[in-house]
Every structure is written in C-alpha cells, then in structure tokens.
C-alpha cells in the first residue's frame, strides 16, 4: 500500500518541497509534476560510462533503488500495516537504507573522481551519526509503544501513546525531522541544489551518473524522502477514524504537510558549516535518547 503510494506520489512530494521553497523565495518555481517529467526525460537518455568504472557503477543505482523500495515495503501507511511486517522489521529498514548508502558510495568511488570520493566520504561519515540517531529514535518508539514491528507500533500510537507520553513523542518527532533532513541531503545539512562541488555531499557522489542510472538515483532519493516523511507523519498524526480510506487520506495529507514543512525549513535556514553537521547529528541522537528517557515506565529502568 505504502509502497504503491510512494511509487506514485514520491515525485509529487519532491515537487511540493520545491514549490514551497519557490513560493517562499518569491519565484513561481517549477510545476508540481516537474519531477515526473525529469524522471521520464532521464529514462529516455543514453548513459555515458567513464572508462574507469565497472559493473559496480552500473548496478549500484538500481540496487539502491531496490533497497529503498524494500524499505518502503516495510513502512506502514499511516496506521495501515505494511505488506511485510514482523517483529524487528525496523532493523531491516535501517539496514536496507544502509545498503542503499553503501551502494551509492561505492558507485561514487568507482568513478575515481576526487569530488565523488569526497561526497562519499562525507555521506558515510554523516551516515554514521544519522543511522545511530535513526535507530535510537526507532528504539524509543519501541519503548513507547511496547511493540517491535513498525506496523504494530503505528497501530499502538493512537491508543494512548500520545496521551501517556506526549513529551517523549514530541522529542521523537523533532529527532525524526532532523534525521529526515540529513538523510535526504536537505538544508541545513546539505544543499540539493548547490552547484559548488566542494560543498556538496550527496550531489557530489552522483556527478558522473546520467540517464536511467541517474533516474534510479533520483527516484530512490524521492522514495527515501517519502519514507521519512511518512514515518514522521505517522508519529505526529496517528489519526484513526475507523474508515481505512479516510485514514489513508489523512496520512497523505500529513505527508504533504511534512513536505511543506521541509520546504519551509530549507527556505528559512542557512546551510551549516560542514564541521557543525556532526554536532547537529549528535543532538538528534540525544533527542532520541531523551525521548526514550521520557517514555512510559518511568524512563530507563536500571
């Protein structure tokens, strides 16, 4: 369900973010559906492979796309359980994202380009802290809900979780938002639109990709944004009406709201100096920890 929605709507979400930014900047901006056109254009192009590269370069974008799609298959659509749900599926989700990162970074190194190498280096370095924060955030969710499958946790959220541990969930949501921004190469951590190679992270990695490979990468990035937005939306708006379609609708609305919020943040903030990024990420992890401490059961029992 979630996977299907994401495959359909993820470019739209990217469009929402872009549009929000454009509006705030006083520009008209690209149409909402521009991302779909971009992807189609890329898919129709012929790729150019550097003679340095190997099959790794060619396979990695699709591996990474498959991994993110797999992660989406584990994500509940709002309160609706995901098609694949089992205790501990959140771990698989985190490690599928890691697989995507692993593949992209290797592809970057495969080009032998100094910029791609630099991007991969930074991506992996920030990934360390981002992954830590994400796992802690999810663990905090486990602590709060007492369930250890994503779909089950989502199911637990409306029933009193917000009531019993609102403070914990607020912190958690803040942490998740931060993680969303860094995992998707957003300001203040990275700038998806920059053209100065030395300051890029994610974009620097994919400099050499083109055609269908770039489409896979871009598509993967959009799916990833959707994934995090959806997770965040589930946490902040676990709306349960009783009618599944209404719930889904509410969820989609929440996701769109998250997209707008991301656009607002990107417009309102400046990019952090690279050296400050780890501090911010550590702050996210601490937020997640703190949310765990505030979780029911009187915090962490010794």
């Amino acid at each position: 369900m979630e996977l299907a929605l994401a495959l359909l709507l993820a470019p739209l979400l990217a469009g929402i973010v872009r549009r929000t930014k454009a509006i705030l900047a006083g520009r008209t901006g690209p149409p909402l559906l521009q991302a779909y056109r971009d992807l189609r254009k890329l898919l129709a192009r012929r790729s150019v492979y550097s003679r340095t590269t190997t099959w790794v370069f060619r396979a990695a974008p699709f591996a990474s796309l498959a991994a993110v799609a797999g992660a989406l298959a584990l994500t509940p659509c709002g309160l609706l359980p995901a098609p694949i749900a089992f205790p501990g599926d959140l771990l698989l989700l985190v490690y599928l994202l890691a697989l995507a990162r692993f593949a992209t970074a290797l592809a970057a190194l495969d080009t032998g380009s100094a910029f791609a190498g630099m991007g991969a280096s930074r991506e992996m370095a920030f990934g360390v802290l981002a992954e830590l924060a994400l796992l802690l955030a999810l663990a905090s969710l486990v602590r709060t809900t007492g369930a250890w499958s994503l779909s089950e946790m989502a199911g637990q959220l409306p029933e009193g979780a917000w009531g019993a541990s609102a403070g914990s969930l607020v912190l958690l949501a803040a942490a998740l938002l931060g993680i969303l921004l860094v995992e998707n190469a957003r300001i203040p951590f990275d700038d998806p639109a920059t053209h100065l190679e030395l300051t890029m992270i994610h974009e620097a990695m994919v400099l050499d990709h083109g055609g269908p490979e770039l489409a896979a990468i871009e598509g993967g990035a959009m799916l990833k944004l959707w994934l995090f937005a959806s997770l965040l939306a589930t946490v902040i708006a676990p709306i349960q009406t009783g009618a599944p379609w209404l719930d889904v609708g509410a969820h989609l609305g929440a996701v769109a709201l998250v997209g707008v919020a991301v656009g607002l943040i990107e417009s309102g903030m400046a990019r952090l100096p690279l050296l400050r990024v780890p501090q911010m990420l550590l702050a996210m992890a601490l937020l997640a920890l703190l949310s765990m401490a505030l979780a029911p059961g009187g915090g962490i029992a010794p």
Binding site: A66, L74, G112, S121, A125, E131, W148
Partner: protein, 655 residues
C-alpha cells in the same frame, strides 16, 4: 569419536608428511594441505552429527602426566565451534596450497605445513578437550603453531617484533587461564572438567580470570593489541584461519567456563556486554584509520568479536534474570555471528592475500582499480565487505538482527535490563555504521577507481584455486544470509547448553527461526527486485553510449590517478571527530623557500592500548636498568652479599 580421532590423525600425518617431504615443495604442499583437507572433512562429520542431535560418545584414555588424562568429547557447544573450524580449515588449506607455492623459491614449505596442520589439530583438540591439562596444552600448542605461522616471513622488517608481541600477548592471556584452571582444579582436586563445580565463593573471580584469559585470545579491547600486529605479517591463509577460527576459541573458552560454572551471574553478563561494546566501537573506529588492508581487517575482527561478545553478554545477563526468550535470541545472534564472521572474515583475509599476490601490495594508498583487473577476487571481496557491514540479504545481517532483536525486546517489554539493551542498540548502531564507512573506504579505494601505483595497475588475477575458494566463500555468505534459520537450528542445542538448567528455549528459538525466514524472504525480495530492475534497464531502456570517456573532472586539465580521493582523506571526517580515541598524529612539514621541495602530508593512528603496554614494559625495563649496579663486578661486593644474606637469615630465625 573415531572419525574425530581419525581427523586428528590426518592432521598429524599431514604435518609429519610435510616435514619429511620438505625438500620437495609440491609434495610437502600436497601432503600438508591434503592432510588438512582430509582431516577437516573427516572432522566435519561428527560435528554435524552432534548438531543434528546425535551422540558421538566420548573418550577418556590415561595420560602419564600428573593430573592429566586424554579425555575428549563433542557436545553441541564443541560441535558448533568445530564446524567453522573444519570448514574454514579446509578452505584455507586449499587456498594456502596455491598461495604458498610461489614462496617455495625462497624457503622450504615443509615447516609451514607442519605448523598449519598442527594448528588445526590443536584447535580441534582445544574444543574437544575435557581435561584441564589437556586443554591448556592444546591451547598453548595452538598459540605456538600459530606463532610459527605468523613469523613465516621472518626475514621481513618488523616481523620478529610482531611475532614477539603475538607470543607475549597470548602467553600473558594463558597465565590467567593457568590461575583459573589451577583454582578450579584445586577446589575439585581433579583436572577433569566433569569434576569441576562452581565454588561456594569467588566464582566471579573465576569468571574475571576467564574474561581476561580468553578475552586476550578473542581480542577484546584492551587485550587486542596482538591482532593488528600479527595479522598483517602472517601469510593470508593463516590470517584467515586465525581470525576466522582461532580468536573464536576465546569465546568458546568463555562459554565453556560459564557452562562449567553452571550459568552466569548477572554481573558477568554485564561485564561481557560492556567489554564487547567497547571492543566493537573501538575496533570499528580503529579500522577506519588503517592504511594496511590486513591491519584494517584485524581491527574489524576486534569489532566483530566485540559484537559477538555483546550478544553473549546480553544473553547471559538476560538468562541470569530469567528472561529466557530474550536470552535465547541474543545468544543465538552471538553464536550465528561466530559462524558468519568465520565466513566473511575468512573470505576477506583470503581476498587480501589474493590482492597481495595479484596486485603486489596491501597498502590502500597504492591500490585501486583492482576490480577491473581481478574480477573474481574483486567481486568476492565486495560481497565480503557487504556481508561484514551486515547488509541484507547477506549473512552478517542475520546475526546482528537477532542481537538487536533481543535488545529491542528488552526495551519493549520493559524488562529490567532495558539500560543494557539501550546500550547495545546504541553501541551496535554506532559500531556498525562506522564499520560500514570503513569498508566502503576499504573496498572502494582498493578495488574501484583508478590504480594508485604501478603495481596495482599491473594487477593480474590469481590462480584458479584461490579464486575458487573465494567464490565459494562468497556464495556461502549469501547462502547463510538466506538460510540463516538452518544455522539457527544448528545453534539451538548449543544455546540450550549455555542456558541455565530448566530454562525452556524451544519456543523462542522457533519464533526466531520464523522471523529469520521472514527476514530472508524480504531480503531476497529486495535482491530480486534489484536484479529485475537491472534486467529491465538492460532490456527496455536505451543502451549506454559505447564510446569510452573519462570521468568528469570539473574541467581540470590532465587529471592523474593520484588526484583521486585517498583512503586517508576518505576517513578524515570521522578520524577527526574521534581523534582523541584514535590518537591521530599528522605530519606535515611546512613548505619553505621560494621554490619549495615537494611537500607531503600524512596521518597515522596509534593504538590506544598499545601505548599503555609499551609504558608498562618500559617501566619494567627501567627497573631492571636501575638494578644493574647490583652486579657491578667487584668480588668484594659479591662476598659481602653472601655475608649479609647469612647474617640476615641468622638474625631472622636464630639469634
């Protein structure tokens, strides 16, 4: 047991044959490697039988050494460790045969195979021994034979020193085991494992002794210092065997002692967990800072043994507080990790050996572009790297998944060990992500991009058997990732053995097994989806431009491979963040003058613990130096000592 005895006999025969045939390299290799392979295959049978629930009996023969007896048995715990021992033993023997042959021009291969076969035999004996003295003798024989393998290239710079560090470290560890065994034997007045009981008091001291003694072998921080010394200098098939199997015997020893002591105290689990976390985190960080590929892999061993220790610690702690299902999951994860690590670390070390042979160097800064030149080796190494980063659907994920799952369960149910669980989640996440960065760096820099040196540019794919072994191991990594429940079933009886009496592990095991199937299915689906996408891309979308072009270089004129991102710069964001732990020293001579000479910038990381030991050794040496004037040479002085000794003695007792 007959088969097991035959396996030992095959090892010994191989060893003796290799030594006797030392004059002919081919014959020595054939006999030595043949003995190892035959023995390993023979030994696998009883181990597999035991794991499938059969009883293979035990042996107890007299041994004239006081307190000693030749008592051997294979219980599930032993069998679980025997399987990787024999499997990796056979693989490394096949690989080693091809790997060592070129060395025959410089030296006799007889001794190398003698020690290799003896190492296998002594390791098997360690796992099967049921007498304290026999265990210790086998334990030291293992250390000794591996020492001689480590110093195989003894004429190279630094190898004697590395050998010394290895020997001293392992011997110091054994010293603690001596106390442990002497203590247990003193209480029971017997050296038979069967007679040993948990003492009324001081059991925690015993565990502490075991933790230090076996931890030194397992490479727990801060006892790990020998690993990064010994591995880089050892021949690669030996490094593989040591890292994949021998260090695991440290874990085996710990588990054996725990089961002899009748289960763990809560404190023990916590201690093991703490040690494991520190090892995992430190190992991961340190591996990030290494230039030498095998040194990097050695630190990765520290990290992975740390992960296994975390699982064991969590499991023992949970078992001690009665949370059986949680304990089962964590222990299962730890044990599976033993198998998995044996596979992918064996793969990686053997792959490193192929790089050393094929590309002539293991210095990351001199490698690059190897995947194009050594396709099979490179691809297998990539699989190994992905597996060690615990990426699904490979085997590393299955074991880490179970350990995580145990801690999530503790967090979710509000079990009293939530703090432990939280530490595990945070620690494993951190170590795992850092290690992932480290292996992206290692694999990316070594295998991908452009070659950074002439050797790497001239890299040639290695001999068939070496490639074959790598491919088989890589396939096994994938297989155990999908078929992890099979491994779990093999581990089940061993887990039951570690659990305190009366704890029912069955249901939790079945649940975990079902979960692993689901994980495997999801992982498999992702892999299939990836493959399908690639197929679709090839079939439906436009073909790539055929004309070869260079990598886009931002318009820079005449880029050279030296302008690629280096391994050191790749690691820099993280090494800078953890400079305190990694003790990174940079050396950058200031360019001077109007036309400065070529400048260089380098960083290197020193081991955190090695410095401490160096300080201790220096202190002892200083004490010794200060005592030297006692032996000043004058006979008058010497007579005076004698007189004073006599006077002192007489004053003490008589006068």
């Amino acid at each position: 047991m007959t088969l097991f005895a035959l396996a030992l006999a095959a090892f010994v025969a191989g060893a003796a044959g290799a030594l006797l045939a030392a004059r002919s390299p081919r014959l020595a290799t054939g006999l030595g490697a043949g003995g190892a392979v035959v023995g390993s295959l023979l030994g696998l049978v009883p181990a597999a039988l035991v794991l499938s629930g059969r009883d293979v009996g035990s042996v107890r023969l007299p041994w004239s050494v006081p307190g000693g007896s030749l008592s051997l048995a294979i219980d599930p715990l032993s069998a679980f460790f025997l399987v990787p021992l024999f499997a990796v033993g056979a693989a490394t023997a096949v690989y080693g045969a091809a790997y060592l042959l070129p060395e025959a021009r410089h030296r006799s291969l007889g001794p190398a195979w003698l020690w290799f076969d003896l190492l296998l035999a002594s390791m098997a004996l360690v796992v099967a021994a049921r007498n304290g003295l026999l265990f210790l003798v086998a334990w030291e024989a293992m250390a000794l034979s591996s020492f001689f393998l480590v110093v195989f290239h003894h004429e190279r710079d630094g190898v004697p020193r590395a050998g010394w560090v290895y020997l001293v470290a392992t011997h110091l560890g054994t010293a603690f085991l001596l106390v442990l065994f002497a203590w247990l034997a003193g209480d029971a007045d017997s050296l038979e494992f069967a007679d040993w009981r948990r003492p009324a008091s001081g059991a925690s001291w015993l565990f502490a002794l075991a933790l230090v003694g076996f931890g030194a072998k397992a490479g727990f921080f801060p006892l790990h210092v020998w690993l990064p010394e010994a591995h880089p200098v050892a021949p690669s098939h030996v490094s593989a065997l040591l890292s994949a199997v021998m260090v695991k015997l440290g874990l085996y020893g710990l588990l054996r002692v725990v089961s002899l002591l009748g289960g763990a105290d809560p404190l023990w689990g916590t201690a093991l967990l703490g040690v494991g976390l520190v090892s995992a985190a430190y190992g991961a960080l340190a591996l990030l800072a290494q230039r030498d590929l095998k040194r990097l892999l050695a630190y990765s061993t520290v990290e992975n043994l740390g992960i296994a220790a975390v699982g064991l610690g969590l499991g023992l702690r949970a078992a001690a507080s009665g949370a059986t299902s949680l304990a089962v999951v964590a222990l299962a994860g730890a044990l599976l990790h033993v198998w998995n690590h044996a596979l992918f670390k064996g793969l990686l070390f053997l792959g490193a050996g192929s790089l050393a042979r094929g590309a002539g160097t293991l210095d990351l800064e001199r490698l690059g572009g190897v995947l194009r030149r050594m396709p099979t080796t490179g691809a297998s190494l990539l699989v190994g790297a992905a597996a060690i980063c615990a990426l699904p659907p490979l085997n590393g994920f299955a074991s880490e998944f179970l350990i995580y799952l145990g801690s999530l369960e503790a967090l979710g149910t509000g079990a009293p060990i939530a703090a432990h669980a939280l530490a595990v989640v945070a620690g494993l996440a951190f170590a795992g992500a850092v290690a992932a960065a480290g292996f992206v760096r290692a694999a990316g820099v070594a295998l991908l991009g452009e070659p950074r040196s002439a050797e790497a540019a001239a890299a040639r794919e290695v001999a068939g058997p070496m490639r074959g072994v790598l491919a088989v191991l890589a396939a096994l990594c994938l297989f155990l990732g999908i078929a992890a429940p099979v491994a779990l079933r093999a581990a089940a009886p061993a887990i039951e053995q570690i659990l305190p009496a009366g704890a029912e592990g069955g249901p939790a095991l079945r649940a975990a097994s079902a979960l692993l199937w689901q994980v495997a299915a999801a992982g498999g689906a992702v892999a299939a989806a990836g493959a399908a996408l690639l197929w679709l891309r090839a079939r439906l979308l436009p073909a790539p431009v055929a004309r070869p072009v260079g990598t886009w270089d931002c318009g820079h004129a005449a880029p050279t491979p030296r302008m690629q991102y280096t391994a050191s710069s790749f690691a820099q964001p993280l090494t800078r963040l953890f400079a305190l732990v990694l003790r990174v020293r940079s050396s950058a001579p200031e360019p001077a003058g109007i036309a400065p000479a070529p400048a260089s910038f380098g960083t290197r990381s020193e081991d955190l613990a090695a410095g401490v030991y160096a300080g201790i050794f220096a202190a002892v040496a200083e004490l010794a130096r200060r005592l030297r004037p006692i032996q000043a040479g004058s006979p008058q002085l010497y007579v005076l000592y004698t007189v004073l000794a006599a006077l002192a003695l007489l004053l003490w007792k008589v006068l």
